[in-house]
């Protein structure tokens, strides 16, 4: 299986890359989603702009109150670095398999915006901010505005997601991610999954963010759950009651891996698990 013919450029700098981006071009990072799509000829860019040789994009940097994960940081590193908040690190560790995690990038998984991907949910729950750069400057896009629709992010055609910023976990904060994978257990894309971040003070939940993957038209926040959690003591009963609001504002879509009813059920199960685990991770 070969992709259609394309022109290939491997710029050595971001400026060169911006110069190579055009109407029929596509950025390639790890290629773990792009190459299969091109091989199946579901997608045939005129030019592939391989950002893999641009220096300075492959590190996770500490900026005091937040970290930034560069565009070439692979899933394996996001998973194991120890610097990444648990929800996103766990989502990275459950992305694909060993070989996929050695090539695929966290930023690529976010830019790809797959409805059933793991890291978008982790990024949403962690309050990530996407840093998009183009020849005309830099934009910061909060995760909550980044995932627009199935396989559609807020990135413009001429932009590169150069890094993602994640607030560091502070006192009283915890996060977690869990999913049911398509191959059973936690393997492969999510049939349904959830990420959660909670902040507790004086015995009660002060703030929360909960995100769903696999169930709707895009990775998205379940704001109803967060709202229901705030002010409670985070007891099992409170978490289970809050999880009942998991599907507010979500259009549940059936797919090959589950009916609408099944996915709706799973959404609540995984929201419950993720929130309980996030509380346990404080």
């Amino acid at each position: 299986m070969y992709p259609r013919q394309f022109d290939y450029v491997a710029p050595g700098s971001l400026d060169e890359a911006f110069g190579a981006l055009g109407d029929t071009s596509k950025v390639m990072a790890g290629g773990m989603s792009l190459i299969p799509l091109m091989k199946m000829r579901l997608f045939s860019p005129g030019t592939v702009v391989d950002i893999g040789r641009i220096g300075g994009l492959d590190t996770i940097d500490d900026h005091g109150d937040h970290i930034s994960i560069g565009a070439l940081v692979r899933h394996a590193e996001t998973a194991s670095s120890g610097a990444v908040p648990t929800a996103l690190a766990t989502a990275a560790s459950l992305t694909g398999d060993v070989q996929v995690r050695n090539r695929g990038t966290t930023c690529g998984a976010l830019a790809h915006a797959d409805v059933a991907a793991d890291q978008p949910a982790g990024a949403l729950a962690c309050g990530a901010v996407m840093v998009a750069q183009s020849a005309s400057g830099t934009r910061e896009i909060p995760a909550s505005e980044f995932f627009v629709d199935a396989l559609t992010s807020a990135l413009h055609h001429d932009e590169i997601l150069t890094s993602v910023k994640i607030p560091k976990a502070g006192d009283g904060e915890g996060s977690a991610y869990d999913k049911l994978g398509r191959r059973g257990g936690r393997s492969d894309y999510a049939v349904a999954g959830a990420a959660a971040w909670v902040k507790k003070s004086n015995g009660s939940i002060e703030a929360a963010r909960v995100a769903l993957t696999g169930v709707g038209t895009k990775p998205q926040l379940a704001d109803g759950v967060a709202e229901a959690l705030v002010g409670t003591d985070g007891s099992d009963g409170a978490v289970e009651a809050a999880a009942d609001r998991a599907l507010e504002g979500v259009t549940v879509l059936e797919d090959l891996y589950g009916s609408e009813e099944y996915k709706s059920h799973l959404a609540k199960v995984y929201v419950t698990r993720a929130v309980k685990q996030a509380l346990a991770n404080i």
Binding site: Y8, I35, P36, N102
Partner: protein, 166 residues
């Protein structure tokens, strides 16, 4: 486009189309046919090789992406006619039936043992999660990796199942 890389210690270069997949470069250009093509979609792992020391799926990487890289394929595992301990493990513990998945399994297992010299059964199963086998049911593959791990640590491998090992 011109690509150059080191494959099993040998410097190679060739003129390829950008769309040439690394696995086709390895099999058709270099004629190293030990690396197999199973699913072509990135799922089966039969095409696993090491690029700069890490296992990757060569059906889901362009040859041009590997320009300048160091690549090891199954043909590079034995040295001076001696099997790599993982190869020996597959031989000694019947870790294969048809053998189609074996080159990829060996590359993944060898990489796992590089990172973790004494993996538990669970860690072995996770380490080869990107490799599918349609024949064995994985049991003897796990035993083969345990054998190799013991060998690499300089220990006596556990007795085979058929001689009362567990």
């Amino acid at each position: 486009m011109q690509v150059s890389m080191t494959v099993n210690g040998r410097d190679v270069s060739a003129d390829v189309e950008p769309r040439t997949l690394l696995v086709h470069f390895i099999r058709e250009e270099l004629r190293l046919t030990g690396t197999h093509v199973g699913c072509e979609t990135g799922y089966c792992g039969a095409c696993t090789v090491h690029v700069d020391g890490k296992p990757i799926k060569s059906c889901t990487m362009l040859a041009v992406q590997a320009d300048g890289a160091t690549v090891t394929t199954i043909e590079g595992m034995a040295s001076n006619g001696e099997l790599h301990p993982v190869q020996e493990g597959f031989w000694e513990r019947h870790g294969l039936q048809c053998g189609f998945c074996t080159p990829g399994m060996i590359m993944s297992a060898a990489a796992l043992l590089e990172e973790n010299e004494n993996p538990s059964e669970d860690e072995i199963r996770h380490g080869i999660e990107g490799n599918l086998c349609r024949c064995t049911g994985y049991h003897n593959i796990v035993r083969a990796v345990e054998y190799a791990g013991a060998k690499m640590r300089g220990e006596e491998p556990p007795a085979p199942d058929w001689e009362g090992g567990d």
